[in-house]
Amino acid sequence: MKKSTKIFILPLILVLLITLTGCAKKQKSSNVYDQVKESKTITWGVKADTRLFGLMSIKTGKIEGFEVDLAKALTKQMLGKDAKAEFVQTTPKTRIPLLKNGNIDAILATMTITPDRKKQVTFSEPYFTAGQSLLVKDDSTIKNIKDLNGKTALAVKGTTAVDNVKKFAPKAKVLEYDDYGQAFTALKASQGQAMTTDNGLLAGIASENKGYKLVGGTYTSEPYGIAVEKGQTDFVDHIDKALNELKKNGTYHRLLVKWFSGIPGFNIKEVENS
């Protein structure tokens, strides 16, 4: 036993050292744009649990969706054809801390532009407009957000939905989960009567799960923006510029059609005009 422990210990210490030095490769830089221009890589924080926007494919293990495609197009538009887009999976709860501590360069994850968040991060121009809605079981008596008073709503930690329920239905109880998959599974397990978040996200869920419907129309307007670390105006200006170019050359429209044509409750024109 003594001999074998000796043999094991040396390589293990090596492994420890390698892991510790390996993870300290990136330093926080004062200008994120200069940094990504040099490395020709942008690390985007995206969703992996949201159909149509960013969903992990069980077949390939890769994240697919409108926002992932948009991130790839933006990266190439900004840094050239040989640039690389990397993706880090985030949840509404983790995305701002991850951006602030430098794990990701930008958030492209169905993130609504709000005054509160503007104090923390810098947003691009909106690239999508959604509105909050409710997902309920087919036999539910809930027709709109007001009906939620006295009932239990299911939402995701760190989203605008939590505040909006408190605003529109002050007597509703809100249970918060870590991601949309968990919140929807909780709805299925009858832990609450309605799940609330943006219509696009809910439509994606309803399209794949029989027995659930969207009710109450949209009761808020949720413009999605790309978020970068507070004060990185250089970076965000380049993102805005690239976004405009994508809109002009038709790439943006093509991506919208690819993901959202034929999805009930969606009007591509409405999304585009906003």
């Binding site: 509404p92 709860k93 930690k157 918060e176 397990a189």
Partner: protein
């Protein structure tokens, strides 16, 4: 950091209270279950031993989070609705009871067969000997390891955060990601946990030394 504490005092306090409540409930029931299964495991009845063995191995070898999720998500689909707090507490109870059963069984074994034989030859039945001779001694021996199980239980109660159980960790998540003061919030919550666990852990070490 103090700002976070004063701004969210009521949330922290309600989380703290729920953590204590759930830990105490789980401790109570896991003690009952744990001691019962320990007795079953040392009993002469072969079938009882097998049942206890299967129970202990199952709950010792499946993650607490998975057990809790099963009660929160699976049980409502086939049986009845379980709230997050209840699912977490049930999960904690079953999980901890398996460890307590193992601890108590080891305690009973260490008391030794001689004691049992002695008690039996004095005319006691098996149950009487267990009840009046073996178990009291065994429980005394296992107090320090049981204390450590209780500390683990308090720490493990943080799984309630996954199932909206309104415990300390859940409140921390909600505060951290609405105030954007992630690290500071978790430091404050860490202090709350230490208030519960640190004194217990020092007391257990003290007891251990005293009993040794």
């Amino acid at each position: 950091m103090i700002g976070i504490l004063t701004n969210h005092w009521s949330e922290f306090l309600s989380g703290f209270w729920n953590t204590i409540l759930c830990s105490l409930i789980a401790l109570f029931f896991s003690l009952i279950l744990g001691v019962s299964f320990a007795l079953l495991e040392v009993a002469p009845n072969k079938f009882g031993r097998a049942v206890a063995h299967v129970y202990i191995e199952i709950f010792r070898n499946i993650p607490l989070l998975v057990i809790t999720m099963i009660f929160y998500l699976v049980v409502p689909q086939i049986w009845f609705k379980v709230s997050g707090f209840a699912a977490g507490t049930i999960g904690l109870t079953l999980y901890t009871s398996a460890f307590i059963a193992e601890t108590v069984r080891a305690g009973i074994n260490s008391v030794g067969d001689g004691q049992m034989e002695g008690a039996r030859s004095n005319g006691m039945t098996y149950t009487q000997a267990m009840r009046y001779v073996i178990l009291p001694q065994a429980l005394k021996i296992v107090i320090p390891p049981l204390g450590n199980q209780f500390i683990n239980l308090i720490k493990n109660s943080s799984v309630l955060a996954f199932v909206a159980g309104f415990d300390l960790m859940y409140q921390a998540d909600v505060i951290a990601f609405s105030s954007f003061e992630t690290i500071n919030t978790y430091i404050v919550v860490g202090l709350f946990y230490l208030v519960l666990t640190l004194p217990l852990s020092y007391y257990m070490r003290h007891l251990e030394k005293k009993l040794a």
